[in-house]
Symmetry: C2
Subunit: 192 residues, 2 copies
């Protein structure tokens, strides 16, 4: 076994553990349990969890939360658009569930370096399940290409997938407070 | 000619005119010129323009700007998630360029009623050009379906498309300050 690969695997489990912690926080807040972290040089520089219920905004997925937190910080630091783009090109995202089409597309616009996810998103997954937005666009240019170009990024799934699915199961067992009615009763879970 | 259809067309031109005004504001701010408005009962309740350069955030498209403005207001008003969903189901969006995959997907998550756009987005369009996310998902359910369901919405393009393309041309003639180098020189336009 190559030690480098072993180290990589160990790191992956550590980072996905951080993302799963965010997902657990979402679960405790009665949100669909998805969490993520963004890394730069092996250090967590942003984290996010699903906040669609709290914000009443169905687009506030974990990835969008982490992205906005990070870009907001870089904006405060006075980084230029090209400096932000350079930063993102070195960032790695760990997320408990495959990014949906919206988030996978957003990560492509931002030019993130790598994405690692837990379980697949069979219905809306944008990194292999439904679409492969991480492969970038190979189509010919048009008038808005320069402005809205999606970049390719490395992507791998299946890291601690069982733990991610287990959190989804817990969520549906307790009942989703915002599911279309009629739905199962919402049971407040004890904090773990 | 049916008067109802005539009225509808006239309204469409008026509302797209509002969206084009937002796109012109983006152009003056050296942003990729895309603008939108969101209507409820024929009244503009939110507007947005592309702010990707200003925010250093490549995901801040006109639609995302308008959505966040609107949901923020509804959150302040104390609307519940289901009330917000009901509001969106009555909203109509006018945008100068076909929503990209990210924005088309976001509009599907939010459950917007109708979308009207100007020119097509041949590279990243999510409402017919590359994907048809406005048609919703017809796939079988899985564990996260309930939480991340994309809804269908009515969509029509080609409204004042020439005006929208003309703004893009103006943008590229003046030069995109954030295009990858080497790029054409940026020429500050006089305000029109």
């Amino acid at each position: 076994m190559a030690p480098v690969k072993e180290d990589h695997c160990e790191d992956s489990l550590t980072y996905m553990g951080f993302a799963l912690h965010q997902a657990k926080l979402a679960l405790e807040a009665l949100e669909v349990p998805v969490g993520c972290v963004i890394l730069e040089d092996g250090k967590v520089i942003a984290s996010g969890r699903n906040r669609t219920n709290e914000t009443r905004n169905a687009t506030r997925h974990a990835e969008m939360e982490a992205i906005d937190q990070l870009v907001g910080q870089w904006q405060e630091d006075g980084l230029s658009p090209s400096q932000v783009a350079e930063k993102f090109s070195k960032c790695i995202l760990y997320v408990t569930c495959e990014p949906c089409i919206m988030c996978a597309s957003a990560l492509s616009f931002l030019g993130i370096k790598e994405v690692y996810y837990g379980c697949p998103n069979d219905k809306f997954g944008g990194c292999g399940s439904i679409l492969s937005l991480h492969l970038g666009s190979s189509q010919s240019s048009d008038i808005i290409e320069e402005a809205q170009r999606g970049k390719a990024y490395k992507c791998r799934g299946g890291i601690m997938a069982e733990e991610a699915v287990s959190l989804f199961k817990s969520f549906y067992e307790q009942g989703n407070p915002n599911a279309p009615k009629p739905h199962r009763p919402v049971v407040q879970r004890e904090r773990t």
